[in-house]
Symmetry: C2
DNA sequence: GCTAAGACTTCCCATCATGGGAAGGTCAAG
DNA sequence: CTTGACCTTCCCATGATGGGAAGTCTTAGC
């Protein structure tokens, strides 16, 4: 099974499969005599595991740990749970931050006529910034720009 | 007013001020005869505007547009509102995605004993992935790993 | 006036996960 | 044997931010 088939079967792009191999997340795939990568069922299972982990928002680092726990039949479920719970806490924190942004902005937007006139509470807020509230918890971490990936 | 003072007064790091200048988000600051940047009150206002925009999650690109609308006294508030509403929609989409992740994960976590035993529904889910649900809307866009920036 | 500390300058590198694309080798169907 | 679809590696870009080096400048204390 070559990389294209592995990609189709796992939902992980060929680019990403090569990347995961490069950073050591997955074992180097076998090679044919013409240097094509060759994937086994087991490799596929790993790729599907990774795919699902990413879909749940786990970072590559967390997935590295989850993968090694998965392979360890004597793992304590405590460790798995700790990773998952940590991730959930992270998600909830970020959700709350984004929720606060969305709420603030939609309140401002509701007060904006949205017509040809220049008066706009949204700009006024950005300019005067009466946002005297407590130092946004978001300021203590890297502030990602919630961007639509085009 | 040099860059350190401008940074303190605006809350934008010196690094970021230089970056914003480099990418053309702000006008190049004046220079002293010894090549130090020199900031005016107006520059400060721009920096504060940017700072607040970032705190609301606007991307640099959106802020670029908001800044030029802000400077244009004949802007139609419609345009400002469109940017804000677009951003709010983006936020809400991402919130929903992360919420779904968090809900799925915490449901799994609740079923996990979290003790010394190896049995773990979280790993089972990642491995077997009975996640047959509709193609997560998240899969159509770049999937960010919700990472805590340490 | 001299010196040391601190702040400024530019320049390069790293992050994280992903995609784009070039240049060249390989495979399978016609 | 050609053609097109695949594979390989390698380099580059993203977005917003920080780290740090090497060199210049300023300021406070002596």
């Amino acid at each position: 099974m070559n990389i294209g088939q592995a990609s189709d079967a796992s939902g992980v792009s060929a680019k990403m499969i090569r990347y995961y191999e490069q950073i050591g997340l997955i074992r180097p795939a076998g090679r044919t005599d013409t240097n094509y990568r060759s994937f086994s069922e087991r490799d596929l299972n790993d790729l599907r595991f990774i795919k699902r982990g990413r879909a749940l928002g786990f970072s590559i680092e967390e997935i590295t740990n989850l993968l090694s726990l998965w392979r360890d039949r004597t793992r304590p479920s405590r460790e798995v749970k700790a990773i998952a719970d940590g991730h959930v806490a992270d998600l909830r924190t970020r959700i709350a931050e984004m929720q606060a942004m969305a709420d603030t902005l939609s309140a401002l937007s509701e007060c904006c006529a949205g017509d040809e006139r220049p008066d706009c509470p949204i700009l006024s807020d950005l300019a005067a910034g009466p946002r005297p509230v407590a130092p946004t918890s978001a300021e203590s971490r890297r502030l990602r720009a919630p961007r639509r990936p085009s």
